[in-house]
């Protein structure tokens, strides 16, 4: 107990100095990489680079990377190729990857990946085009996203007799992205609701609004349970487009419609109010 007290007023030791220098090296290195990348891709330097083959190859690498990040930022659905390390993998281990970008709280999250293979590529029992059909091989989508349902709808397995069957990767990708974005929007809404009601991370009660807890009540974060300090509890169902689909508040004497109307504001009719408006209302009453 006594030793840290004794050392703290002393000047920083050599170890501190070393770690400070190392962190400085790190920042300088990343700054250098950033500068180099910026220089290599700016149009004014491109004209100067044309003589050096090493620099031009570097520059083209950087440029293609820039293009990729541009697509990733704007289209948010991008494809890439990968190789399955399993020596017994189907189709010689060719993998098609789908990258889904998600923005949450003004930040790009780690993208979600869906990786496809072509298990029917070498089987002669299917007509030509069906052999190229894809199948979800691996994915990193959370289990509360109905990926298998979407795959069964848009990426069915081939069938010799059923020629009307079609795979639609575009629809599948858009479907998955829609679900993922909705899921993160709902998560964000619940966090906003908590913030607006003055509920901290530690779960200490916000006495301004009388609410003591707001938390997701199911895997998909469609249902949100709301608890008041006086024992009333409520359930809020968030719809696909962020609207409050249903709201039930139950107090000591059965259903408490008044409280529900108060929370929703306006006419107090579920289905007409967006969850963000509830957030705004809560924040408003909290501030007043």
């Amino acid at each position: 107990m006594s030793s840290p007290l004794r050392t703290s007023p002393q000047p920083p030791t050599l170890d501190h100095e070393i770690s400070a220098l190392q962190s400085k090296i790190k920042t300088l290195k990343s700054a250098l990489a950033l500068q180099a990348s910026t220089l290599l891709t700016s149009p004014s330097t491109l004209a100067l680079l044309s003589s050096d083959p090493k620099l031009t190859s570097q520059s083209s690498l950087h440029q293609s990377h820039h293009l990729q990040t541009l697509y990733r930022t704007c289209a948010t659905l991008t494809l890439f190729r990968a190789q399955d390390p399993d020596p017994n993998a189907v189709d010689a281990g060719s993998i098609l990857g789908l990258r889904i970008e998600v923005v949450s709280r003004a930040k790009f999250l780690r993208p979600y990946y869906v990786l496809f293979n072509r298990p029917w590529a070498s089987s002669s029992s299917f007509p030509g085009p069906q052999r190229k059909w894809l199948r979800v091989h691996r994915h990193t989508v959370p289990s509360c996203i109905p990926l298998s349902g979407l795959a069964a709808r848009y990426l069915p397995s081939p069938d010799k007799d059923d020629t009307r069957r079609k795979q639609d990767l575009g629809k599948f990708a858009r479907g998955v992205r829609r679900e993922v974005v909705r899921y993160h929007a709902r998560l964000g809404t619940v966090a906003d609701l908590r913030k607006a009601a003055g509920l901290g991370r530690g779960g200490d009660g916000g006495d301004k609004s009388g609410l003591v807890d707001i938390s997701p009540a199911d895997a998909e974060v469609r249902h949100v349970s709301v608890e008041w300090g006086d024992g009333r509890t409520g359930r809020l169902v968030i719809g696909d487009d962020g609207e409050v689909e249903k709201l039930v508040v139950v107090g000591e004497n059965g259903r408490d419609r008044e409280a529900g109307r108060e929370l929703l504001g306006g006419l107090g009719l579920a289905g007409t109010v967006k969850a963000e408006e509830v957030v705004r209302r809560l924040a408003g009453t909290g501030g007043a």
């Binding site: 950087h62 990377h65 541009l70 979800v136 990193t140 959370p142 990926l147 199911d218 895997a219 998909e220």
Partner: protein, 474 residues
């Protein structure tokens, strides 16, 4: 206390007391350590639990004759006093036997309630996380029932195209599960949150008796021959459910507990179903004693369908923002490794010897095949993997033949020896990884099922892949 026992369909109430001398009570309590016993007793004496775990206290009126009854464990006068007593026991040394005796013949001589037993049982699970064998089941929505021409209802099929994720509401689930339990057995339910893992644990304690009165519990026959315990865990944010193997106290064990489990596997989906939204349970061929490992493979993480080397796609620590314009260094490349190791040892780089290069290569291959999974200390190991090989025995066949085996070659009977593989150990896949790292297994030729990327512990291997799991088992 009612005088006559009437058969009922209600569950056993939590406050129902069990004779402390019955084998069930001693069995549950005596397997706890001394420290755990004290903490359990303190848990019972907590304000919130006191109503369901009332200790035997000194009655107020007979204060005068307190000394002369020769009681070895004189009853305390208030729960607070008892709490103090147990707190002081915590600091003292002594044997487990003392505490056990104190509980069963002293402070809870009038009976240990079912709620108390549930708490004690869960404490055992916290003390010995690998004491239960869990099987993972997937909750799958069912199609709406259809009728054929004769008006008969067809057996329900799993609805593969459904986009609904089954929802779980604890109290509603318990209510409908109770309706599914047969009237000739009685069950006690206790829901609790796991202390460290994102799980909700339901403990079901079943006895063979149609009554839910203390009398049915006090007769030792019911309590000792026909009581069984089964644990069900619901992971947060994931449509999966883990069911433990039932443990029974009676001599007639195996077949009965199997039937109880079958009964529950049948009853749970019905209890989880909502009107117009039926679900069923599907086995996911994953059985292990390690709850943390189960959560890693069937929980709410990204790694569920991206095990082994694919875990690099699921690693949330990797920053991969599309707004960063810096050229990323591919994983396993020299630049990435330098970053990892720090930049101190750059100057003493000399030409590596052949052995060093081979070692490094093996390490890199292991890293590529296993990613960041299957580390010895990660606590996510499975202890047993059973596989059946269904591949024909190859006599000098080259790789080109292997791809064609799929359908057509089945005409001529190939030699298929019956080979079963069982891997056994504290962390099976970490062991395989270590063998790859030291070069015993050739990591590049190793089949994919040896990396554990399928996330199953029971499977059949065909064409070098686990059958039915060409991918994530979708």
């Amino acid at each position: 206390m009612s005088r006559i026992s009437v058969p009922t369909t209600a569950p056993l109430p939590s406050s129902l007391r069990v004779n402390p001398s019955s084998t069930t009570v001693t069995k549950i309590l005596s397997r706890l350590s001394r420290a755990s016993l004290i903490s359990v007793a303190l848990d019972w004496l907590d304000e919130d639990n006191l109503s369901l775990a009332t200790p035997y206290l000194r009655p107020d009126q007979d204060d005068d004759e307190e000394e002369d009854d020769g009681d070895f464990y004189p009853p305390a006068s208030s729960p607070e006093e008892l709490r103090e007593e147990y707190l002081s026991l915590q600091n003292r040394k002594g044997s487990k036997r003392d505490i056990l005796d104190r509980i069963t013949t002293g402070d809870w001589r009038h009976g240990v309630s079912l709620y108390q037993l549930a708490i004690a049982d869960l404490q055992y699970l916290y003390d010995h996380p690998t004491s239960q064998k869990w099987s993972a089941y997937n909750i799958v929505p069912l199609k709406a029932p259809t009728e054929d021409d004769d008006g008969e209802v067809q057996p329900l099929e799993a609805d593969k195209t459904s986009l609904t994720i089954p929802r779980f509401h604890p109290s509603l689930f318990l209510k409908s599960l109770q309706a599914q339990i047969l009237p000739d057995i009685k069950a006690h339910y206790n829901l609790d949150r796991h202390k460290t893992l994102p799980l909700l644990i339901l403990r079901i304690f079943v006895i063979d008796s149609p009554y839910n009165t203390p009398l049915s519990l006090s007769s030792n026959r019911n309590m000792d021959t026909g009581s069984k315990t089964i644990l069900i865990a619901f992971p947060d944010g994931s449509p999966n459910i883990f069911i433990s193997k039932p443990t029974s106290t009676g001599p007639k064990g195996a077949s009965e507990s199997k039937s109880l489990r079958a009964l529950l596997v049948e009853g749970i989906p019905k209890a989880l179903s909502l009107p117009r939204q039926r679900v069923t349970l599907q086995s996911t061929s994953l059985t292990t004693r390690n709850l943390e490992g189960l959560l890693d493979r069937r929980g709410a993480t990204r790694g569920n369908a991206a095990g082994g080397g694919w875990s690099i796609y699921a690693d949330e620590k990797v920053k991969e923002s599309p707004l960063s314009t810096v050229l990323p260094s591919p994983p396993l490349s020299d630049a990435a490794e330098e970053e990892e190791q720090g930049n101190g040892d750059k100057k003493r780089r000399k030409r590596p010897t052949v052995e060093e290069r081979v070692n490094k290569r093996a390490r890199l291959v292991a890293q590529a095949r296993f990613g960041d999974t299957a580390r010895v200390g990660d606590g996510k190991g499975v202890e047993r993997v059973d596989l059946v090989m269904e591949d024909p025995f190859e006599i000098g066949g080259d790789d080109a033949d292997r791809m064609d085996i799929e359908g057509e070659d089945d005409g001529e009977e190939a030699f298929r020896p019956n080979v079963r593989l069982t891997f056994h150990g504290s962390h099976v896949f970490a062991g395989i990884r270590q063998l790859v790292e030291c070069g015993v297994i050739d990591g590049e030729k190793m089949p994919g099922w040896m990396t554990g990327e399928e996330g199953v512990t029971i499977g059949a291997v065909r064409n070098g892949r686990i059958r039915g799991h060409k991918g994530s088992g979708l």
